[in-house]
Symmetry: C2
Subunit: 327 residues, 2 copies
């Protein structure tokens, strides 16, 4: 007689409730450490690019497992950037958690892309925790989407500064961002001129799907930290690749992914950096000597998003779900 | 205001009901034709191999889309071959259907691996339809699992012969197979000696997860057709690779996949065939000159399973679900 294994389907509202009970940042941090120690199997990212000019999109499949763990995870994330014009969110996705011992489907997290936002915002907080200048004058955010909002939210636990300036292409979107954040602790300015950010912010986070660099090398002042997380394909690029050349430290979440996507991909292709210069975030976390040394350094953290983040956040949500169910 | 798109979750019992209303073979056939015409985007297969000696397993992610279609599909299939000892089925899986225009998740087919069995059995029927000898004396099946049963079932619509011999390692499993098929139209013999099959069957289907060839080249008689579908990794192999050398025609579902997995992978590596000899199934279907010429040829169809099969079967089930819902 065959045993039937029940697949739990967990929806966004439940996921959000479960997330209130743990700190995703520390969970993602553990994931990066394990990844950089070689304890995680992460095959190359699966990718589909849809080039319909009316609504260009992409779909990424990130998957893998921590060796000798109970689970393996497949995460699918879609981005269709003109969706808001259709009344749809621009990003979407789901996480699927499997039993590593027998392959059964333990649960499907119908998180609508939210867990990708959470694990990405967590990575931004980790980047700032170890690499931002001690004295952050103002936080600069490129991008008015959900990630632009969550980055600021997640930075609260690692940075004291509560002043921010947001860059966006659309004034309407900038105003909406400001309204959305009205009840937050942040004093928010908005701008359509990127130099307003580079002139006044020493902790900058870029989270747009731009294919044209938004920041030029000659704009970047001494002592600036930039976390670039918008580019996750070979086509997207937020920073002029020379910025990586003038940086004192270039850090990525995954060296193998940085060879084919993100800011490093462009800088490597343009000959502006050497692979040997790039350090993995998981190594930074555990080695103080690799972290920012002073408030003059220019540092870049280039994030393309690694499956270990999806593994960690999915596991934590599922475990939270199981303990909710028990009580 | 954002529109909420409802994701339909369709379970196995509903899927089986929907499958009664259409012919999967013709749908999969259309898929192979489109694939070999270059109308389908199929990125490389995602793969995880779990090498726990107690229960070795694998997980394959097959995904892609027909250009200018409404959907894209991600299929995840798991095989853990000692699961029956744990009271669990050895294969499992799910299909996810997305909207190609905006990335929303249209439906999740919780088919428990059944749709993979259906689309694989359909491919076996298509292989036999175009390549089996006109006069099939007896059908030989290697493997006593679900696929071994479904192959025979699906061959009914393309082959008149109702005599079959089944090979398996375990006598108990062979007896179970025979009992399961007792009420079928087939007269079923069982054996643990592969020469019983190669001596008396001229249409042979191999569907095991074997890593050691089950059929040697000197066993293969003139006029035999073999469909080898068990091997879908670089490690699995059911046919001695010399068999592909002595074959008059070597056909695969996907040439690009055959370079890295399945029987052709081994034969190419061993220098027993040349890439130029291999023909794609989608081309065979539409070109009579490429099909079996006489009852003396030795022909091999090596199937590793292509995402276009998953796309076609998922679409058909979802469309069937929507029309059920309307009525």
């Amino acid at each position: 007689m065959e045993t039937k294994i029940l697949t739990e389907i967990i929806k966004l509202d439940t996921i959000k409730k479960i997330l209130e009970n743990f700190d995703p940042i520390s969970i993602i941090e553990e994931g990066f450490i394990a990844y950089s120690k070689g304890k995680v199997v992460v095959p190359p990212v699966g990718e589909m690019i849809f080039d319909d000019p009316d609504n260009p999109g992409d779909c990424h499949i990130k998957y893998g497992y921590i060796k000798n763990d109970n689970f393996f995870v497949v995460k699918i994330a879609q981005g269709f950037y003109n969706n808001p014009k259709l009344g749809l969110p621009s990003t979407n996705g789901l996480n699927i958690l499997f039993n590593q011992k027998n392959g059964s489907i333990e649960c499907i997290l119908l998180d609508e892309g939210y867990l990708t936002e959470v694990r990405t915002a967590s990575a931004g907080a980790i980047a700032a925790k170890y690499m931002a200048p001690k004295n952050v004058k103002r936080i600069g955010i490129f991008g008015t989407g959900m990630q632009g909002k969550m980055q600021l939210e997640y930075l609260k636990s690692v940075v004291k500064c509560r002043k921010a300036m947001i860059w966006g292409r659309s004034e309407a979107q900038l105003k909406k961002y400001q309204e959305y954040m009205a009840s937050s602790e942040f004093e928010i300015e908005i701008t359509q001129d990127s130099t307003d950010i580079t002139d006044t912010c020493n902790l900058i986070v870029t989270c747009t799907p731009s294919k044209i660099p938004l920041i030029k090398a000659d704009q970047v002042k001494k002592g600036t930290h930039i976390t670039a997380m918008g580019s996750d394909t070979s086509e997207k690029q937020e920073l002029e690749s020379k910025i990586l050349q003038i940086a004192d430290r270039v850090i990525v979440d995954s060296i193998s992914q940085a060879e084919t996507r993100g800011e490093c991909f462009h800088a490597l292709k343009d000959g502006n950096i050497d692979q040997a210069q790039i350090i993995e975030l998981g190594k930074i976390i555990t080695n103080k000597a690799l972290q920012r040394k002073n408030d003059d350094e220019i540092t870049i953290v280039d994030l393309t998003g690694v499956a270990v983040q999806d593994i960690q956040i999915s596991k934590a949500v599922y475990e939270g779900f199981l303990s909710l169910k028990e009580n």
